[in-house]
Amino acid sequence: MPTYMPGCVGHPVVNAAKALHQHDHGTPFENAGMKERSWNPYQDNGGTAAMIRGKDFVVIAADTRMSRGYSIMDRHTSKIMELPGDLILVSGGMQADRNHLQKIVKHRLAWYEYKNKKTASIHAVGQMMSSMLYSRRFFPLYTYNSVAGIDAEGKAAIYAYDVVGSKESVSHSVEGSGRDLMEPALDCQIRRYNQQGLGPFDDITPEQAVDILKTTFQAGTERDLETGDSLEICILTKAGLTREVMQLRKD
């Protein structure tokens, strides 16, 4: 029997933290032997999002596949949201929670603008995201987030978070199902860890960053089944945002 029976008084006790780590929907074979499984409030809709920061620009790339277990539910779902003040919020993980998060962030930033007569800076939004995510510490939003923007001095910034808002200012971030495959590639090419004679690739140009991201996504798509279909690439500079779409493997 499912643990939740409609008509029962009271709600089922579901350990949100435990539920966060369970897979809700796999192939029919994964449940062989089990009569029914309990409903899980979380779902991992897959997909990968990555960002690379240069001195005065950020390149953001995210695939557009929404999957559930071994099924592709939609091939054209965007993970990228533009925030006022030329900021970008990218979230991997669960699509329903992402949608909710995008809505409440948009709402918060609209009110910030009304009260303060200016748009929120990347550093303000960076901190705000951390506290917003932590406010859901005991029923987290299953989203892996990063925000990017150019601050008032023209310097680019990326903040990456875990599900409960642990914030880190980084030069590149990869979130989502392809993270294990793609993050090492970016560590190697952008940070250049442990490579003799080379320091971090700080003077990267937007074209180089786009090229690195496209190649890395191609690689990730080959092996990660939840990444693919198409790639949305945004280049964020002081002048604004440009978008492009690249096709990825559909299988």
């Binding site: 709600h11 409030p41 099924s71 054209h76 329903a96 949608n99």
Partner: protein
Amino acid sequence: MATGGSCIGIKYKDGVLMASDTLVTMYHTKKLPNQQRHYKIGEPARTVVLTTGLVADTEYMINELRDLERDDRLAGDGVKLTGPRAVHSYMKLVMYNKRTDFNPALFTAIIGGKDVGKEPFLGWVDSVGTHAESSCFSTGMGHYLAIGMLREASENDKWKSLTKEQAMKVVEACMTVFFYRDTDGFNRIQVTDCTDAGVVTGEPYELKPTLETRAIVAEVPNVVVL
């Protein structure tokens, strides 16, 4: 608990075709073999909702949508809260909020419709609030069986040149496959068509499947037919 089986929806150039069987299953019994599971929303109806999953939760959701119809009627300002896109948006919010309260509506819904002069709309919501909009959807066990055929016919912009006859062929092929391969499948089906003229739900009819095992076996040499 009473559940409804697989549903499909596909866009074609003049509208949307939605289909499901007419069976309500209670665990492993075929409880109600002649149920109308297509819910038309709006006065006049411009949207249809099909669900796979708990019938009780579906009825609850449809009642919520009837409240929207009532609000339309009372406001009388010509702005409809019951268009397909609006119903999809409303359902996804209600489903998400219910899941956040650990009181989920345990079904997956396909919402289809066409507003006059606008493109046909087909959307999908599940019990956790995940939603999408695409040219075709298939829910339940049928997702695995039909989605390939449906996408081949309608993905990207292929639906814009798909005629109703072509779409019906695909729909009937999918519903036949459900009957063959899904243990909860049923060959009595119903198809709803949403066009500029409105939402027309056809009468239920039986498919005539031709899965004859003997004929298939006979084509294989050296097999003894008992």
